[in-house]
């Protein structure tokens, strides 16, 4: 069956370091992958989209990689700040209907 896995354990890092979050998937051939940020009590907010023919995408301090051979995406936040503390969700397009399948999210805590 189709499955998306993110590290369920919280990631704790020191301010200024690079945070790396992992998203693995099985039994998918997604055309693209999205990353969202979710703060407590709020809906997810879109961050980045990377297509299957793109190896890497950057936006300010964020970098996403997409390895369709390994079936994995890595999400990096460089020079992390306490304000980056949140839960980060990856999502894959299922079929061609626009339906997104989400991972369970990884909670990042950046300590000052």
């Amino acid at each position: 069956s189709q499955k998306i896995e993110q590290n369920s354990e919280a990631l704790n890092i020191q301010e200024g370091k690079t945070a790396t979050l992992t998203c693995n998937y099985t039994n998918y051939s997604p055309a693209y992958l999205q990353w969202y940020r979710q703060d407590p009590g709020r809906g997810p907010v879109f961050l980045l989209l990377i297509r299957e023919n793109e190896k890497e995408k950057r936006k300010e301090r964020l970098k996403v990689t997409f390895d369709t051979t390994l079936k994995q995406s890595l999400f990096h936040i460089t020079a992390s700040q306490p304000a980056d503390s949140a839960t980060y969700l990856c999502a894959l397009l299922s079929g061609n209907t626009g339906k997104l399948i989400f991972g369970q999210g990884t909670t990042l805590q950046v300590k000052p």
């Binding site: 998306i4 993110q6 693209y32 809906g43 989209l49 209907t97 626009g98 339906k99 997104l100």
Partner: protein
Amino acid sequence: GAGVSQSPSNKVTEKGKDVELRCDPISGHTALYWYRQSLGQGLEFLIYFQGNSAPDKSGLPSDRFSAERTGGSVSTLTIQRTQQEDSAVYLCASSTSGSTDTQYFGPGTRLTVL
């Protein structure tokens, strides 16, 4: 402009009662989605509306769940004969036309079934 809004923000109900949750998408967005998020879990897809096409209901967990979208704008998710396992945050999202477009989420409705 205004984002996606949902009402109520919180709903407490008794087991067996029916509830209606409302979503107002961003004006002009033709695609609308409903998701459910249980405590500590990711988002579970429920239903997807795109323009005048038949909705994709493949994520609805049982026939107690239904949704409609009137006039291509506001959507209502109805849960009949609520059960305790229905307790979750129900999130609505909209996008300009579906497919690869960014989804904009509302703040969610927290449903508690006692």
